[in-house]
Symmetry: C2
Subunit: 136 residues, 2 copies
Amino acid sequence: MIVPLGRALSAAEEPVLRAHDLSMWAYIVLTALAERPMRTQAALARAIGADKTRIIGVLDDLQERGLIQRRPDPADRRMRVLSLTAAGQRAHRSTQAAIRAREERLLARLGAADRQGFLRALQVLSALPPEEIVGG
Amino acid sequence: MIVPLGRALSAAEEPVLRAHDLSMWAYIVLTALAERPMRTQAALARAIGADKTRIIGVLDDLQERGLIQRRPDPADRRMRVLSLTAAGQRAHRSTQAAIRAREERLLARLGAADRQGFLRALQVLSALPPEEIVGG
DNA sequence: TATTGTTATACTCTATAACTATA
DNA sequence: TATAGTTATAGAGTATAACAATA
């Protein structure tokens, strides 16, 4: 049930993201960096559950459009310090608002109790480390 | 949250499926046919949200292993009537039991109220036609 | 030598289009 | 001609491996 639902929700959010000129991964990256800047790209990749090679193109694009900053760390120039620009923060906030409005319309279909249980269950299960899910 | 969770759950169920020699799609097909036999492959594909070409290899394999029957409809020999064999029913039941046991262990982490809300919310949202999800 | 990021390559999954057979 | 199923092909998304820069 969850996998098809995830697909449907992704499909539902795609028009919203396109309207804000962001790919799904770009939005995920902005969301992660909005929570806190990262010292390396590998750390960002881990945080969002992506391969480190997967996000390079995304970062290239976001940087080119001035939504993120990506500078070599002066202390260790192998690393790239990542953070949102002011424009990036604005883009993230407006996109997130649009997505939340859409989610709100869907959650309105649920009873208050189910809704709360659903969101709490998602948080609990998402917070589990993968080993615990696999191991049961 | 839902998409990564779905990925994690899929990954968690994979060892169980492998132990029963079934792919994810094979299991989905068996589950659909356990509910009710289908008159055409296209109907099955629609029912499980897959492309009609996607399931052909799956059906080939299941038929070869004697888990499903797939016979031309005498009334219209273009169509293939699909149904589980006795062995297919057994395979489905034992695999489903193993998967449910694993799900049970995960759901045990939730409070009773959250758990009920979570499952009901999943049912409600999954039952929504795609248009309503996209349209909001 | 070990690590960060990058590029190039291969692999998996899925969808599209062309084909066969029945009607 | 239209439909069910099949096959072959191409596309997107992802992961793996080799490479360059820095430590």
